[in-house]
Assembly symmetry: C2
Homo-oligomer: 246 residues x 2
């Protein structure tokens, strides 16, 4: 399993992913699920993947190697597409190409063709976007009304986002929130695991230099995990007792 979350904020993007992959609980590995495509000042694109690892890797390879545009016939890569919308279309086309090559054989082995991708970033003189691409290659964009997208094991980490994330949330608060959402997921689902990859993109910067890896025991992550648990317990003590029960 996997948990990836992307926040689409006024100030920019917060993109956080775990690194655990597993083929059963007895076969656990560490793979980064975050892929950066960066040309300083020209394009800053991040893809995060969930689902079958072979499919995810095929898609990431295909968008770098290049695919023919289904209408123009022109070969395009993640480094040549002219907009984030075109980048999402390219990723969708790569997903369909992977399905054409591997889909039937996977089905014959009883394996689901299961993949989803969060794709966030910006190109020079274009709008910053955050997309979620599905296994059918179609996609949706985050908007101001729902300024976050999640893929993989999304349920445990959703309540805190539903309550606290708005498009006005600062990048700094967004980082803390994304980490707390990840913490809830890590606590409840063993198949999501450390280390974590975090990228913060500042709107209109076209830089992708704010990138960190959080290893087990990371000081800041440890601090906010503990303080959040304490704060929740404290808040609980402050709740009024049920007046109907004594």
């Amino acid at each position: 399993m996997t948990y990836c979350v992307g926040l689409f904020l006024q100030e920019g993007l917060v993109l956080l992913s775990d690194t655990r992959t597993n083929a059963g609980v007895d076969n656990i590995s560490c793979f980064s699920k975050q892929h950066l495509f960066h040309r300083e000042g020209e394009r800053a694109i991040v893809a995060m993947t969930a689902g079958n690892l072979a499919v995810s890797q095929a898609v990431i390879n295909l968008i770098q190697d290049g695919l023919k545009h289904p209408e123009t016939g022109k070969e395009e890569t993640i480094f040549t597409v002219p907009s984030m919308f075109a980048a999402a279309s390219l990723v969708g086309e790569a997903v369909r190409q992977a399905y054409r090559v591997h889909g039937r054989a996977m089905k014959e082995q009883g394996i689901n063709f299961d993949v989803s991708i969060l794709l966030g970033g910006q190109l020079a003189d274009r709008t910053m976007r955050l997309f979620e691409v599905y296994a059918a290659g179609n996609f949706i964009a985050a908007t101001e009304d729902t300024p976050y997208l999640q893929i993989g094991e999304h349920k445990y980490g959703k309540p805190i986002l539903d309550r606290a994330v708005s498009v006005d949330t600062s990048l700094s608060e967004g980082v803390t929130l994304a980490l707390l959402s990840m913490d809830s997921t890590l606590r409840s689902n063993l198949s999501v695991g450390m280390p974590l990859d975090l990228t913060v993109y500042r709107r209109d910067s076209l830089h992708l230099n704010d990138h960190w890896r959080f290893e087990e025991g990371n000081g800041y992550f440890q601090t906010i995990r503990e303080r959040w648990s304490e704060a929740l317990r404290g808040a609980l003590r402050e709740m009024p007792a049920p007046p109907f029960f004594s």
Copy 2:
């Protein structure tokens, strides 16, 4: 969908369920999922059900009408079983009986035989127990290490329980916690809905009189929903900012 949660505490049991059933989003109804089997001073048993409504209702009927014990051949009902363990066995047998009658025909219509039951309570001079019965009729019991069980849409409401419930939690705190866990679920999954049914059982009391229904707009539930959201937002403001990001 459904959400039911049972807390197994030193002081007793807290049992909370929603009432929404749905056959698609265009066919939503209200059914209580909480069933009380009570003989004052002799037995106090509560069953909460999730899954296919026809199967759940069949099981609840069967345990009241009576089933032959598979080994002794003796007819037993939820009012004659001698212990909570025997009650869980009876519910399991009822699930298997429902499967024998309806399982194949349901499968032919493409419908899963999907049911799970939380069964809590106590009989005179016996131990208080809380069980979860699965669709195969087998079951597990809550213990001091994991003093709660959930059925139905359990993921959204789990993080708060994982962080805050222990066997020493008081019944009054348990009520608040169960309602907050339900709140997280209601916010994120439309197929879980008000009103709510709550039963609190005090260990060794053999009474089942602490039973409430929470309608939409209930004052206490409204208050703790709002105060919990405020407390979370407040706690978030108090979190230290990520020192690596400025």
